[in-house]
């Protein structure tokens, strides 16, 4: 390590340009560090730009301004209720106590701004411990992309959400497409693009340097076991050495696009990552190599993904969010033609039922693809993936005049499917679903006041009948190197690895395997990214001779 030709020397190196990375860069720069951000792809923003851009932040000041109250003890009890003992209390408290302070700072000092989406309640509102009035989710305010000049062209496009805010219906489908057209014309972005746009602007304002098409590959360690730099590789395959005086922050996303890693760590393979390609577990591999402890490794931000095969994103058929499984006139069945879960649970929870093992028949009966079965009434009412009400069903959607024919077409047990639909229709008549309790939870009628039989139970009776496959998807993985309350990566002895930090999907989620509500991933990613940046900037490492 004696004769390294450093390409550049800075205080803090950040890998990635998503929410975790840019929050880290802002905090580090604000605390006086020189900061270099490296991004592997040709675009800034990662999954964050591609996302709804919503962070979940307990006790935030936007809520207070809207007259909603929140309570520290209640939030902690709520998070613990969801984690089922799988997260450390100190990390939960750290998140709850620091999150709102950081978002106040971002608002006041960095012009990274949000609104409380009043009409978008908490996903688990039906639980006793949940917030009943208001929401802890935050909706990025529209951002004028012209403010970041030419960088605007490099901001990752978002083919999933139109340029509307969450409250304007950007994520739920009741969309005014003329507003969308106007925003597109004027370069006004919302959701994930707005969040990344405003974070990136704050980085530019602080003199943070960003390089594209260059991936962090390997950490360079000093003799005291501390991180002193990084080897990176350009998209042309050229190696570059960067010196980091204070530390390296791994914020380069999860490993959902790396088959070797998903096979090794997850319960089942994510066949349909919903995130953009690029997150290939580079941070995880770098951290493993230097002895990081790992946590939460079998978890991901699960999503029951659907596909319109006529759409491609960066050379892959694009996995989409889909919908239609919450409301009346639809059920979800497994390959045996049987319902197996409450169809309208949160997107993170439904796929967890795909992993159930049947110890008698020795099989995973619910292994994806499972099938959304619906009738013409739903088709006439809702936008399903890209299929608009009123337009004829495209040829990639299986449809048939009878359930028997439909089941045969898609390879599902027909007798069971017919039986299951008859049972479902009976439950609709009696306005109660004793099998899986549709019509009882908040998420299945999220913005309409919560689940109830009228809103969520409706017969499947009007042909033609339709079937769409639902795949095991994920918005990202959330296992990785274990971190402490300052975002420092911990080794197997429980000690921080000096100069090494991680945040967001590149780290183990500090809240464990939970998705508490809209923003449950970006909230902790930004908070622990920020804490990592702040700590790295303030740290003076005990350096070995280089």
């Amino acid at each position: 390590m004696q004769n390294i030709q450093w390409e550049k020397e800075v205080d803090v190196i950040v890998l990635g340009t998503g929410g975790a990375a840019l929050s880290a860069a802002i905090a580090a720069a604000d605390n006086g560090a020189s900061v270099l951000v490296l991004e592997k792809t040709h675009q800034i923003g990662g999954t964050t730009a591609y996302s709804g851009g919503v962070p979940w932040v307990p006790l935030n000041h936007y809520m207070k301004d809207q007259g909603f109250s929140d309570n520290r003890e209640q939030v902690i009890a709520f998070i613990k209720r969801l984690t089922l003992g799988r997260a450390e209390e100190s990390m939960i408290e750290r998140f709850v106590d620091k999150g709102h302070e950081i978002f106040k700072f971002l608002d006041e000092e960095a012009q990274v701004r949000f609104k409380t989406p009043k009409t978008y309640p908490e996903y688990y509102r039906n639980l006793d411990e949940a917030l009943k009035d208001g929401t802890r989710s935050l909706d990025p305010v529209p951002f004028d992309l012209n403010l970041i000049g030419d960088w605007g062209m490099h901001l990752r496009q978002n083919p999933i959400f139109p340029p509307l805010t969450l409250e304007e219906g950007g994520a739920i489908g009741s969309i005014d497409f003329t507003v969308v057209a106007e925003r597109m014309q004027n370069n006004i972005v919302t959701m994930g693009r707005s969040l990344v746009g405003s974070l990136f602007k704050a980085c530019l304002d602080r003199g943070v340097e960003t390089l594209l098409n260059i991936a962090g590959k390997e950490l360079i360690m000093g003799e005291n076991g501390e991180v002193i730099g990084l080897i990176a590789e350009t998209s042309e395959g050229e190696k570059k050495y960067f010196k980091a005086n204070n530390g390296v922050i791994l914020a380069s996303g999860g490993f959902e696009w790396n088959k070797q890693l998903t096979k090794a760590f997850l319960k089942m393979d994510i066949t349909h990552p919903v995130s953009p390609p690029g997150n290939e577990g580079d941070a995880l591999m770098m951290a493993m190599k230097v002895g990081a402890a790992l946590d939460n490794m079998s978890e991901a931000w699960w999503y029951p993904a659907m596909v319109d095969p006529t759409f491609e994103y960066e050379d892959n058929v694009m996995a989409q969010l889909g919908n239609g499984r919450n409301g009346p006139n639809s059920i979800v069945v497994n390959k045996h033609g049987r319902r197996f879960a409450h169809e309208g649970t949160t997107y993170n929870d439904l796929p967890r039922t795909f992993f159930n093992f049947d110890p008698v028949n020795i099989e995973f009966p619910n292994e994806a693809p499972v099938w959304l079965i619906f009738d013409q009434q739903l088709k006439d009412r809702e936008l399903i993936i890209t299929m608009t009400p009123g337009d004829p069903a495209p040829d990639w959607v299986d449809q048939a005049a009878t359930l028997q024919e439909l089941a045969e077409k898609v390879g599902v047990n027909a007798e069971n499917l017919i039986d299951e639909v008859a049972k479902w229709n009976g439950y609709c008549e009696q306005q109660e679903d004793p099998d899986f309790h549709r019509g009882t939870i908040q998420f299945e009628n999220l913005t309409g006041g919560g689940g109830n039989p009228e809103a969520n139970l409706g017969k499947i009776e009007k042909g033609p009948f339709y079937a769409l496959p639902i795949y095991l998807g994920a918005l990202g993985t959330n296992g990785g190197p274990k971190i402490d309350g300052n975002g420092r990566v911990i080794n197997f002895a429980g000690q921080p690895i000096q100069g090494l930090y991680a945040a967001g999907n590149a780290s183990a989620n500090p809240l464990g395997p939970i998705y508490p509500s809209a923003g449950g991933t970006i909230g902790p990613a930004m908070v622990f990214g920020f804490l990592a940046g702040e700590h790295a900037a303030k740290t003076t490492l005990v350096k070995s001779e280089v």
């Binding site: 969308v180 057209a181 759409f311 337009d391």
Partner: protein
């Protein structure tokens, strides 16, 4: 109404150009993102291609109805989406400048309908003129190559 027109000067006679343009099989593969086409009869054909919208690619199927074959100067057609809700039309026109110079113009005009129409049209505003330009240029390049004249 997203539309685009592109004109190029070609160092070939109008008859040579007509000869090429009047048979769809000659230029179909030059359509950007071409996947396949099927000629149903003299005036009707179906097409599949993958449009590159910049931030994503979309496979579409459409039908072309030739409205006018005006030898040797124009082919005018209507188009309608089979896989998606859009319609429009276009033309190729050739205008004689001299015995071995012709102005060739390609035009495309596509409007999306339905609920998402206003949004899709914003995307088409860039895509349609770009496709009209690329197709016209590709045809001229092919014509010049086939006839051994510099582009």
């Amino acid at each position: 109404m997203p539309q685009g027109t592109h004109t190029l000067s070609v160092p070939l006679s109008i008859e040579t150009i007509w000869e090429f343009v009047q048979d769809m099989n000659n230029w179909a593969p030059l359509v950007p993102g071409y996947i396949e086409h099927e000629i149903l009869n003299e005036n009707e054909s179906t097409w599949a291609f993958k449009g590159d919208l910049g931030f994503m690619k979309k496979t579409v199927k459409l039908k072309i109805d030739i409205k006018e074959w005006n030898e040797p100067s124009a082919v005018i057609f209507d188009l309608s989406g089979l896989s998606d809700n859009f319609k429009g039309g276009g033309y190729f026109k050739a205008e004689k400048v001299s015995d071995n110079e012709t102005l060739m113009t390609g035009n495309l005009d596509i409007t999306a309908g339905g609920m998402m129409g206003p949004m899709v049209n914003q995307i088409l505003v860039k895509f349609v003129p770009q496709t009209a330009t690329e197709l016209t240029e590709a045809i001229v390049t092919k014509l010049c190559e086939d006839n051994n004249v510099p582009v």
